[in-house]
Symmetry: C2
Subunit: 337 residues, 2 copies
């Protein structure tokens, strides 16, 4: 690259665009040969239903403890496909770059994307790059869309929760949101907190193998956290969900930081967690399968579906009381993904 | 909607996010029932190869003569699928909104997207909405990704041009770029120019029916215009292409505006045009098929593949000379899509 920052011309479609693509983006992300670049990628025929999803990432800061906007963008879309019960196969990458972004930052982000894609076993097959003038974006925004394959006939979706179902989670809550916030605000605590961002597709495969059709809902509690996600499931399934406060896994540092800042960890975003709503007869088997996975060692039961009731989410407090949990109106933590 | 502008909270995942989704975005774009919102859309099994593409749109201004960023975003991705020879089926929509965007502007844009999707015959099946603070984006950026089906065994791609192939286009060049520029700069000429943005999938279907395997390349000359697109085809196919200057269809107003502003219409973006590289024996049949289509009435031959040569693009001038055309380095017209 002749320039060490992104110029408007890198988004023009001319020689600067081609240089950026041929010398940086394509070699790192996809290794498509120069003669094979077309307007769309051609994917082989798949036998089975497909899952299709999209997510844009605008996290601030773009680098934070344990990750950056690049691996976040890959894992976020991989996980959305996994939550539909699909095997993630192909990703697209749409970059919106602000003029002046250091090429070195872009390189680090792209390398993280590639590494995350390799770990998750997905291929980045198509992309697009736009550049906007200084002050018209914030360094880099990334859209990833994904296509996955449903290799089974199961129906996994937010409306599947039934009375008696158990609510499982694969580890501590609030890590991602607090790591990003601490990094953004320059909090001293930052060194003790890092994002939990990981791909969850292999964990989901194990869960489905163990629970089969008893797995009713899979959902990753990203924006809005565990509380908002469970509230959505409660609304979709018309089912009352009760959480056990004493069973909620929270890192001590995250709990302390939330306490200092007046934040409720139940509403803080996660990027490597999933909630499983599973029939009680399969809960133990699913939990055991989760424990055997790299990203499931700390899996635990945090609540259950306790009755009918659209949008009813309650917390059984440590001293035995019941508190109703409402969705937040607006922003607790803006731009955490 | 209680607010008449976009607030940060509309991107939080909380109740404001749900309101925006349930009262505006979903009813207009996709009409997915509230109980059916999941992290990914499930698509029925398709028999055949698939095409997958992505494009982010950052056009400035967001409203311009003949269209806006919404129908541009839908048609742009529909056309990328069509250029791969695919029937466009499903779109995703990723919105990045700047705090303060008038809800009414968003509504107009979403309605244009829906209308464009209906006309092109594609379904918007999944989406994502993020909000960034004032000054961190420019009103609205839209990513559309798309999945299409190849209903044939043809190999359409940039490397397929052969010596003797004819270069066809479906109408005048430079309309979109000049309409956006005139609108952005407040030029007096603006009323005479409007975008050519349309979906090209039905035109492509007719072209493939008429030309079959003699259709070697389909490409829409968007960013970088006709010259850059042909240069890319020349590079990919290692084939010299010669254009006839006198045969280039250009609206008089566009030609005049380009002349005043010192722009070369060959490098100005189009959003409703396609270039067809077709074997000479099928050129007449394809041209006749194009003429029978709503967006092909002004189709014409503009050049041919005249020899071997990687990246060689030449213009046969009106007085019979030959001029070599090079790609532009950077920006002739930034942010036209």
């Amino acid at each position: 690259m002749k320039s060490d920052i992104i110029l408007l011309g890198h988004g023009s479609g001319g020689t600067l665009s081609h240089q950026l693509l041929d010398s940086l983006i394509i070699p790192i992300l996809s290794q498509v040969a120069p003669g094979e670049q077309n307007d769309a990628a051609i994917l082989p025929e798949q036998s089975g239903r497909l899952a299709f999803t999209t997510d844009s990432f605008v996290v601030d800061p773009i680098f934070f403890p344990g990750g950056n906007i690049g691996d976040l963008a890959v894992n976020g879309t991989v996980n959305d496909l996994a939550m539909a019960g699909a095997t993630p196969l192909y990703l697209s990458v749409g970059l919106i770059l602000e003029e002046g972004l250091p090429i070195e930052d872009l390189r680090r982000i792209l390398e993280s994307m590639r590494q995350a894609a390799d770990i998750a076993g997905v291929r980045i097959v198509t992309g697009d790059t736009k550049v906007v003038p200084r002050g018209k974006a914030d360094r880099i925004f990334i859209n990833t869309s994904g296509v996955g394959l449903l290799e089974h006939e199961l129906e996994i979706g937010g409306s599947g929760a039934r009375i008696g179902d158990q609510i499982l989670i694969n580890g501590t809550i609030g890590d991602h949101g607090m790591a990003v916030l601490a990094s953004r605000e320059g909090l001293e605590l930052k060194s003790d907190m890092k994002t939990d961002c990981v791909p969850l597709n292999s964990l989901v495969a194990k869960i489905l193998a163990a629970g089969g059709s008893d797995v009713h809902v899979l959902r990753d509690p990203t924006r809005g956290g565990v509380a908002t996600t469970l509230k959505e499931i409660s609304l979709q399934s018309k089912a009352e969900i009760t959480l056990d406060e004493s069973g909620l896994p929270i890192h001590a540092t995250v709990a302390a930081a939330c306490s200092i800042l007046g934040l409720d960890p139940l509403f803080v975003a996660n990027e490597g967690k999933l909630l499983v709503v599973v029939a009680p007869e399969s809960a133990e088997a699913v939990l055991a399968a989760m424990h055997s996975c790299p990203h499931g060692g700390d899996s635990t039961r945090i609540g259950e579906v306790t009755g009918a009731g659209e949008g009813k989410l309650r917390l059984r407090t440590a001293i035995g009381g019941l508190r109703s949990i409402e969705m937040l109106a607006g922003e607790q933590l803006p731009r955490i993904c």
